[in-house]
């Protein structure tokens, strides 16, 4: 069979959204790849220039459908940096709890989407069943299940409802039991390991140069987590570890990326528990939040998928003059020819699934 280009997408089970991956194959081996984006481009940055600072939190919610709180939080943090707003202690704790709940939901969404990529439909239903638990939890304070708009500039929308801690504890306990059960079905399964081990390898130094961050970089054994390395909210007051895993000396494969996310979920459970223990009383919103800003500022946060960065320029009015979003998936997808080459067509969903694509944030 001669070499040929196959166009996967924009409607393809592998894509997890709307994008096209053109792969050049020689028989079943991938020779070259060319990703194409833009099907979901909503010009968030341009829209943001027309809206006031506090209005933009609805846009940031819609950046990523799997992990909307983390993006709103990144925006709120950047605007607070720009305006010089101090967030009350209790609001920081609540934000941390919400971020970790969102991270759990996002990782579960990823795990559920990854299993059908490997031909394992049951895994999807298991993980999405558990995701429901966390969506229910996120619904309690924010009032909605997908786009929360809970984190606001200067704090959070409202305090946690009564009984939130007990409900969370109950669900976390159930979730921990279930994760242990799933170990037999997934990471101890021979076929699962055959499909994921030694597939989609890249070394840590390659990953840094390609712009890959987050769990994908930690899957290469690099201890780089912005929650520690550029700490925000109260992550430096809490006792937790950066979860890393490597497939070999300095490189990671799909399985190590899978395991990093599973370990991260366990770590998130620990963080949430400790937050509840240490949470002080007090207000949940800064007393004074300006609506105008000038100068420029940026903050970066550890999104569920990697390094999220928002760069804001204000010109003294109540609207941002320029608002630039860095999406971790944008660079990770751009690098896909590097880590797809040499593998089989059947490995494409396995590799592209393991890096956790979210096209909403990628196309902005």
């Amino acid at each position: 069979m001669a070499e040929m280009w196959i166009s996967m997408g924009p409607q393809h089970p592998m894509t997890h959204g709307l994008w096209t991956l053109k792969v050049k194959v020689d028989g079943e081996t991938i020779v070259d790849a060319d990703p194409e984006l833009g099907y979901l481009h909503r010009s968030v940055e341009k829209m943001g220039e027309r809206r006031k600072y506090f209005m933009n939190t609805t846009l940031t919610d819609r950046l990523c459908y799997a992990s909307s709180t983390t993006w709103t939080h990144c925006y709120a943090l950047s605007v607070e940096e720009l305006m010089g707003v101090e967030v009350p202690q209790r609001a920081q704790y609540i934000r941390t709890i919400m971020l970790e709940l969102q991270r759990l939901a996002s990782h579960l969404m990823w795990a559920g989407a990854y299993m059908p990529d490997l031909g394992h439909i049951t895994g999807a239903l298991y993980f999405w069943r558990d995701r429901e638990l966390f969506l229910n939890l996120l619904e309690l304070p924010s009032g909605s299940r997908l786009l929360y708009n809970y984190i606001r500039i200067g704090g959070v929308k409202r305090d946690l409802p009564d009984g939130f801690e007990e409900k969370t504890e109950r669900i976390l306990k159930l979730f921990e039991q279930r994760l242990d059960e799933y170990a037999d079905l997934f990471e101890n399964s021979k076929i699962f390991r055959m499909r994921t081990e030694d597939v989609g390898n890249f070394t840590a130094s390659q990953a840094m140069n390609l712009g890959i961050t987050g769990p994908n970089l930690r899957g290469c054994g690099t201890k780089f987590d912005l929650r520690k390395q550029d700490s925000y909210e109260i992550y430096d007051e809490i006792d937790w570890e950066i979860q890393t895993r490597e497939a070999g000396p300095g490189y990671g494969d799909c399985f190590s990326r899978y395991m990093v996310r599973i370990d991260e979920m366990k770590e998130s459970v620990k963080i949430i528990r400790e937050c509840f223990k240490k949470m002080p009383a007090g207000p949940t919103m800064a007393s004074k939040v300006p609506i105008r800003a000038s100068g420029d500022a940026f903050r970066r946060t550890e999104d569920s998928r990697g390094e999220a960065l928002m760069y804001l320029v204000g010109d003294g009015s109540d609207r941002p003059y320029r608002w630039k979003i860095k999406s971790p998936m944008f660079t990770t997808i751009s690098a896909c020819p590097h880590y797809l080459k040499g593998y089989k067509v059947a490995d494409i969903p396995s590799i592209m699934g393991s890096i956790d694509i979210c096209i909403g944030e990628t196309d902005k």
């Binding site: 833009g38 341009k46 840094m208 140069n209 760069y311 320029v313």
Partner: protein, 159 residues
């Protein structure tokens, strides 16, 4: 290398001005357009900034401003008694008539699509870029919509 020492070293580079510490781990500086490539090479090779976080283009009316964010992941620059890693924010100003600059995507592959996006939405031309096409907007789209003088109605029919 401690961050204060690093800042001192930065000032000695050609074209660098206004080196400042804007947060405890973020260094900000202005850079001349002509000396940018040499500076970026030494930033990667000598100081170990492995990761290109973001390239943003701003339309400052009249000139353009490029803001580069680079970060250290495992490099040698550190802050005393802190797990935080160092970032650098570089501002480069471009004339409106010649919005061109040398590409850094051969140094950091992660910069490749950021440059494509800056070209796509703001019309900055990166010299030496291997594949400078539109990335978010469709091929054949007229104009660069994030420019402040962009008017949508003009280009509607062309596209």
């Amino acid at each position: 290398m401690e961050i204060t020492k690093f800042m001192k070293k930065l000032s000695s580079h050609k074209g660098v001005s206004d080196v400042a510490l804007i947060r405890d781990n973020v260094v900000k500086l202005d850079l001349g357009k002509e000396d940018s490539k040499d500076f970026f090479i030494s930033l990667k090779e000598d100081y170990g900034f492995e990761h290109c976080s973001l390239i943003s283009a701003i339309d400052n009316q009249p000139q353009f401003e490029l803001v580069y964010h680079f970060s250290v992941i495992e490099g040698s620059i550190f802050i005393k008694d802190s797990p935080k890693t160092v970032m650098i924010e570089i501002h480069i100003f471009l004339e409106r008539d010649t919005p061109t600059i040398e590409s850094v995507s051969d140094l950091w592959f992660g910069a490749n699509w950021h440059e494509r996006e800056a070209y796509d939405l703001m019309g900055i031309y990166f010299l030496g870029h291997p594949d400078l096409r539109r990335v978010l907007l469709p091929e054949g789209f007229a104009g660069h919509p994030l420019r402040k003088d962009y008017v949508y109605e003009i280009h509607e029919e062309e596209w």
